[in-house]
Symmetry: C2
Subunit: 188 residues, 2 copies
Amino acid sequence: MGRWQPDARARLQEAALALYGERGYDETTVAEIAERAGLTKRTFFRYFADKREVLFWGSELLEQQMVAAIEAAPAGASPLGMIGAALDAAAQRFEEVRDFTGPRHRIIASSRELQERELIKAASLSAAMAQALRARGVADNAATLTALTGTTLMHVAFEQWVDDPQRRPFALFAGDALAQLRDIAATG
Amino acid sequence: MGRWQPDARARLQEAALALYGERGYDETTVAEIAERAGLTKRTFFRYFADKREVLFWGSELLEQQMVAAIEAAPAGASPLGMIGAALDAAAQRFEEVRDFTGPRHRIIASSRELQERELIKAASLSAAMAQALRARGVADNAATLTALTGTTLMHVAFEQWVDDPQRRPFALFAGDALAQLRDIAATG
């Protein structure tokens, strides 16, 4: 199996999602995932460190894209304006992987180990955005607060988007969440 | 060692914190903690499920007190006003355990396993506050958003409070964080 495998990563992800959904995450082995994908365990480990990472592939790219959006925001953009740009970048990415996202979300909700990993990724995203905001001149504390608020908006929008039977765009829910936050902050 | 041990829990916590600080969390065993406290492993396990839980004892109580504050907030309080009441409850609790909190915070920062547990506890607190807000009539989404904003404010205030050389009160930092959030939301 030394040959080039077209779309090996996508096939492994698809096989893993299918098996996690059918048998449960804990009950599925790497060998079974590889077999379902028509590949070897060795190929699996060329793409993913373990069976958990299959579900989190892409999160680093997402983080990079959101950070890049903060870096590229127009001069004079407000802290929350820069977070808005990062959420736009996330929206674009989410729409591209929509069909993968719903099943993935349900599998993560089924396992505490996976929830922990998801929370660590969110904390990492928050820290990276805070650092990017600081590099754009936002004061230390305001940067932390704005970045955490950004992950909150993302989380709330995501929860609505992922199960939306009408498949409306993520950006719509993100905009709603931001408007709602402004209401809450103004009247609180 | 069937006898009653005065302050056994506090002695075990103190011993654990000291050893985690001296040797590192990973390198410390339950037997060593018990020995330092002048107690047995059996006594340790009467109070804590494992060496991780020594650091998280009290988080359920904190959650209960914050939820109770939301339940007891005056009729007509805004969502963020109810979160303010919950933060007041947290402030009171934090001041009581201040000397325990700084070393604990540094130990948690040193271990990914502990950070994961901390994130899970924060997620649990958020979910509990959101539920309490819903019970007070806050709409589903606004409740989630407000509760997550509450944990954000708590986190930002905590980070400043825990390392403050002047030992100013937690409530001061929580108030600052709330004011800053309002600024960010209004100008964003």
